[in-house]
Symmetry: C2
Subunit: 346 residues, 2 copies
DNA sequence: GCCTAGGATGTAACCGTTTTCAAGTCTCGT
DNA sequence: ACGAGACTTGAAAACGGTTACATCCTAGGC
């Protein structure tokens, strides 16, 4: 006859409870709310945990508590310095408050983004960090149906009903274009990033255009080129602009990679920057100030932006009231790549 | 009097089952093993799922099936092009086979890495992707105790008992140094990445040194500098080398970022590359071929490396036999930044 | 026509936590 | 000395799936 004894088959929290001579409830409390259990028991439990090498099973915990202390993020690509830095910053912040991050990429494909969102919700994330406000229709419904808090990062849209945090790209681009206009340029070209499914890129283009329009400047179609995020494509675009019969004396670029490409191609074609051509970038990447000539550009505090996004969600989840639309300041960094246009072409 | 009826409080799979008029077991099968359920039922179930907007709850699934179809990865930092690309590639592969990736960073801190591993195991990952073989003692024990499959990425160590996939950094660095030696250089400096907790960096240094030693070349201590992964630090190192009374005619660098810094500083100091100084990089980043002069460097197929790491784990988990140590080929890309040393200094 | 093998489906016991609720123990003020 | 709270603690029911096992059908083989 068997006496109902402690079977050795126990696992997880029950094994710890058995070894410490307490109930599973107490172990759970010792882990999640240490103050609720007496010091002596707490010590016994801690010791049992160490002895057993116990690691709590997060899925079980999530299942039973309906909270995962995990956020999901969907970015177009991780292979872009700005996003990589942003994610790093977000992750750093989240881990400092005991949260984890589930990262996925969409490749600028709205369908994929929607699918990834389903994935993440399925995974039990408490909230979602999204890039921009350009989403699949079904995504909003999905988020609403499942009551998943989220925030749009990298844009500033105070008039929309969705939370967001980021710089005002339109205003920043306007500032960049105004800079070369103030230097005296009248013939200004644009090399932007691809605008499709990318509200950040299109906001920048809008800002550039508004600045030109405000000064009554023309933008012939052939002076506006859109390129993917590679040096090769940027160089090709620059070659196109520089080979035009009527070529611009300044080029404003959708990001620093493009600007670098323009710089390279200008040099190769024998144009001096800023003597013959002024170039403005956007983002202020690490190497931009090291270029020859160093790059005039717009600095965007990416790290802060993404951290704020994390803060917003964490606070919302904690029930705190937080501001829905947060603007992150940009600044124009004037360096060597911009100057007044050549006298002959003023 | 109430008849025991379908309560509206049902959730998840039970709600789907009720609506489709089947048992939860059947719904589960329809989801995980569609062939096991008749076409008619499958259709009813699919319809119920759509109607309800049902999203399976992954934690519950993991809890009961003891498999998460999720891998964890711990990299030193995401803010380094090579890692960012690697992760992107790994993630892409994993999603193509229905797996997800949990990504965390350690900041080259072994304690943090260990903690992250605990985190990931707690999360229920089926396997772990680690950078290199330089880990905390406790990590191996942790992995063994919990029977978690793992692989060391970015190094090649056929003699160690742990699975790994990557290029032979020692050999690649040896090749790089041999290249400048073959060009006639006898005075060769090294600017390496920080070697602490970084077996990739130290393998490269070892390779450089072996090549020098094999040709009886001296490496005075002041000709070997270690720097963090930034242009500023690389430039400072270059300044140091170029200001020496006896300065090297060639510099081999631990990565392309360092090489770029050396290029920039050489230009600023009025040294011509490769006329006065030859420079070799390592990694072949996207922009390396665009530099002036374009950079001689070692190409490392990062994408393939990380994808292979994913393949190894996925296959192992599927019970397939796979090779433990896989070497990924590197290649020397000779461009403009290397040439024979100035005649006077041969 | 009967027996059996095998496929389709349902029943219900888990998976490892958290959490509600009840019970037990202290601490005090009166 | 006693009862009201305030704390600790434990028992057991969720949480939302999977899966071993039982059951029911159906189609063949004899």
């Amino acid at each position: 006859m068997l006496i109902a004894n402690e079977k050795s088959g126990k696992q997880g929290i029950r094994a710890v409870a058995a070894r410490a001579g307490v109930s599973t409830a107490t172990v759970s409390r010792a882990l999640n709310n240490p103050d609720a259990v007496s010091a002596s028991l707490r010590a016994r439990i801690t010791q049992a945990i160490d002895a057993l090498g116990y690691i709590p099973h997060a899925p079980a915990r999530i299942l039973s508590s309906r909270r995962s202390r995990t956020l999901g993020a969907i970015v177009p690509t991780i292979d872009n310095t700005m996003f990589a830095r942003g994610i790093a910053s977000l992750q750093h912040y989240l881990s400092s408050v005991g949260y984890m991050l589930f990262l996925t990429t969409s490749g600028y494909d709205l369908e994929v983004e929607l699918q990834q969102a389903r994935n993440l919700i399925s995974r039990g994330v408490d909230g979602l960090v999204l890039r921009g406000d350009c989403h699949h229709e079904g995504l909003r419904k999905l988020l609403a149906d499942n009551a998943v808090p989220f925030i749009n990062v990298g844009i500033y849209q105070p008039n929309r009903p969705y939370p967001c945090v980021g710089t005002n790209n339109e205003a920043a681009a306007h500032r960049a274009a105004s800079h070369v206009i103030e230097l005296g340029h009248r013939r200004i070209g644009i090399v932007s990033a691809l605008q499709r499914n990318n509200d950040r890129a299109s906001a920048r283009v809008a800002g550039f255009r508004r600045a030109l329009a405000e000064h009554g400047l023309d933008l012939p179609p052939q002076w506006h080129v859109e390129v993917p995020y590679t040096l090769d494509d940027a160089r090709e675009a620059a070659r196109h602009l520089l080979n035009l019969r009527e070529r611009p004396t300044a080029v404003v670029c959708g990001n620093d990679v493009i600007a670098y490409g323009v710089l390279l191609e200008a040099e190769r074609s024998g144009f001096s920057v800023p003597g013959d051509l002024s170039v403005v970038g956007f983002d202020d990447l690490d190497w931009s100030r090291h270029l020859r000539p160093s790059l005039t550009t717009i600095r965007v505090p990416t790290d802060e932006t993404w951290q704020r996004a994390g803060e917003y969600l964490v606070r919302s989840l904690a029930g705190e009231q937080t501001i829905m639309h947060r603007e992150i300041d940009f600044s124009l960094i004037v360096r060597e790549s911009t100057a007044p246009p050549p006298a002959a072409l003023k």
